[in-house]
Symmetry: C2
Subunit: 463 residues, 2 copies
């Protein structure tokens, strides 16, 4: 167990967060929180294998081969292969892979994808230090809590410029890894500080469909691991990296921060329970509109061919992100086009991972539908974001009828979570998409994930 | 030789910069530029050994041992030891070490320290790919040019929040390494883009004298090497990472950028010739005031004991940076206190590396002098910064006399450069400070540095 060090009372919010992170014990954690942590773990394993052939993953794996050790205790995915290496490189590559297919979770109020950074880092380090299932679960909960709270602190205006999954994520990783390394509160504070001064990740890659999204998740793991391991070895990080006069809040947030998010209700509620599964395989900002459109078509008996136009009413962050990718020239980019995603969902009745293909990019019926979709800012929806990610669609049919549908929650939201059966189904689909045919191994991983708290170690979890 | 690829005419400024970087040839470079590149190389080697026992260096070396390979072609400094490892880790540690003692160069108009990132990265990669002295020199000139131009683009307001040595430096490293790997212009552009989306480094560490300054230089090397090696292996970086709508300019610059700095006069003048040596061992922002005070005391026969008060009139960036470290509780922090630095210079007649010690921190005469120093913003000096780093001091003596002295250039500025003899003297002093007693080896390194263009490889340059 980590020591029960506390930082002095009356310190900064960041000190209180570090102290909480260092001192959380498995036995403190409610069972529903443990269960949700296992759900997202399995979900992330599926995402990791689904992305394994992406050129960014292969390039980053080549870097790991050239710069890292040729042996180690941590498992690294590399196309059809699996290697072992040091945890920094294993998680660099696995995190990149887990973020390729846009099926990893989304934490609404922080606007970040915690799973794609927290699990790969914690898994690789757990393998390195031979941590137990209980220790791993506890560390992941720490990572979610710290990462998402930092994301909430940074807020909406930060997200307009920065990929919060990376900038909040690196701090969550540092805290999770610090916990696995049993650092005390002072060392954990150093790890958080060193992570924060490395926080980076710009949206510019959306303009030309380049590979930075995977770089951001991979590097958040690498850099967070660097922060925690080096804190153990005496590297001092700035103490108030969130609210200090030259810290993240000042430098990386053009609007206002949310300081109370850093430490209010620590230990009373858990951020991991507030994260959402992604059911559709597209950018999360399209999901409320997909659900609203699907519901509208079903309720009113409207078919794909009947639709003349769609107006998707949404919040500003969706307009910002989705507006950057143009019409979607690549499969990845097409998942960031509201028009294309709604076209796919309307035509196929779903927008699962197998529903976005090279052939679909050339489908003129999808492209024509895409051109008839517009997005509009909805002030009411905007006022609720990011606490709530709502969507409204207005459909005009070719016969001149008009229908409107609003969804308050998207499928996969905390209020509408996936069942374990659905998570298993999604995991199998992701494995199939990733070209993994050993269904017996998938069955075994599912069993191990559901029994995670009793696992003696985390070896063998990378395919 | 790298291919002579060019990007399409009429592209962005960043494309023109990448194209220039990929296509520079040793034979294009004027001899005075080569000579200056060798001067700063030797200067940096001295800095690297001087910092080698710092706890940040040791902690980062531990990280390299745990995460990197136990063999490789690149030399890594580690306290009294030397190891070989992969270039990413070797430069991570060496760059940290070269920035400890605040004796590395300063490029005025970009407000960054290019040597501490460019040389360690280029040296480690040159050892990895067994590049020649000519190739190494060319790559370093590319790194200076790209890094400093990005720093100038980011400008003064960026520097208020970010350590430009890291944020501009990572891009300079990527370009230098891309050149050593003989990447074409497209790949170099990708390397620059991937470097830019990792750009990070906050001044918060100044508030509590923690270790991020070394993290920033080390990670700029690591991350820039990642960007270039992975670009070679197919990782695509955003094409317009400087001026794009979600790029560094928008996200990391609160004020205005200087876009023309990116590509004007490319190949006509060379940034490396515009960098300054550091003669004093303190923060570069104190140097104009140190020189002005020394000159004033000499001219007017004023002794340390005679001085009642000093007003140091300077530019805003100096006030910002120097104002953060308080009175200087550690040796490192004391070099960021204008009052303490002026006290040392006034009392000892110099402010060399051996003039800042633990004992000096407890010297009440220095502390009393320090308390009688104030800084003031000088609007004329401010208007010339950062193109020119001027300083004015006003001294009032205990007998009531008042003297004023202004320096237009500090010793080590391009207008007042160190001679080769002074560089050698400084290098020997730095080696002595670093506890290195093998003067024969120092002689040999000096000889090899002055003959660098004829060296077949760069092996053996780390002590």
């Amino acid at each position: 167990m980590a020591s029960t060090s506390k930082l002095p009372a009356g310190g900064t919010r960041t000190e209180r967060l570090a102290s909480w992170a260092a001192n959380l014990r498995y036995t403190d954690i409610p069972q529903d929180v443990v269960a949700k942590t296992k759900d997202f773990f399995l979900d992330t394993l599926g995402c990791t294998i689904a992305g394994r052939h992406h050129p960014a993953v292969i390039a980053m794996s080549r870097f790991a081969m050239q710069m890292g050790p040729s042996n180690g205790k941590s498992e690294l995915i590399d196309g059809d292969l699996k290697f072992t290496t040091s945890p920094a490189f294993a998680s660099l590559v696995n995190a990149a892979s887990s973020h390729v297919v846009e099926q990893d979770d989304l934490h609404n109020s922080s606007i970040m994808h915690p799973a794609t950074v927290i699990y790969p880092a914690a898994l690789a380090v757990a393998q390195d230090v031979q941590a137990s299932g209980e220790d791993f679960i506890t560390a992941c909960i720490v990572g979610y809590e710290v990462g998402c709270r930092v994301g909430e602190f940074l807020g909406k205006s930060h997200y307009e410029r920065f990929h919060t999954t990376a900038t909040g994520g690196v701090i969550g990783v540092a805290a999770a890894v610090a916990h696995l390394l049993k650092l005390d509160a002072e060392q954990t504070l150093s790890a958080i500080g060193t992570a924060g001064t490395q926080a980076a990740g710009l949206w510019q890659f959306l303009m030309d469909a380049t590979h930075s999204k995977q770089v951001h998740t991979g590097k958040a793991c690498f850099d967070g691991i660097f922060a925690a391991y080096s804190a153990r070895d005496g590297l001092l990080g700035p103490r108030d990296i969130l609210e200090g006069p030259r810290a993240m809040g000042i430098a990386l947030v053009p609007g206002s921060t949310n300081p109370e998010a850093i430490d209010q209700n620590l230990g009373k509620d858990y951020e991991v329970t507030r994260s959402s599964f992604k059911w559709h395989a597209s950018c999360r900002h399209t999901h409320p509109s997909v659900d609203a459109l699907s519901s509208l078509m079903k309720k009113n008996g409207v078919a794909f061919e009947d639709i003349e136009s769609v107006v998707a009413r949404t919040y500003q962050a969706a307009l910002n992100v989705l507006g950057l990718s143009g019409r979607g020239e690549t499969v990845h980019q097409s998942k960031f086009s509201m028009g294309f995603v709604l076209a796919v969902a309307a035509k196929k009745g779903q927008a699962m991972i197998t529903d976005f293909t090279e052939d679909d990019l050339k489908d003129s019926s999808l492209r024509q539908f895409q051109n008839r979709v517009t997005m509009e800012l909805d002030p009411v929806i905007e006022s609720k974001f990011p606490e709530s990610w709502q969507g409204t669609v207005i459909v005009t049919t070719k016969s001149g009828q008009k229908f409107t549908e609003t969804v308050e929650f998207a499928k996969g939201d905390p209020e509408l979570p996936l069942t374990r059966e659905e998570i298993e189904r999604k995991t199998r689909a992701l494995a199939t998409y990733g070209g993994f045919t050993d269904t017996g191994k998938v069955d075994q991983l599912i069993r191990r994930a559901w029994n995670l708290e009793n696992e003696k170690n985390l070896n063998g979890f990378i395919f």
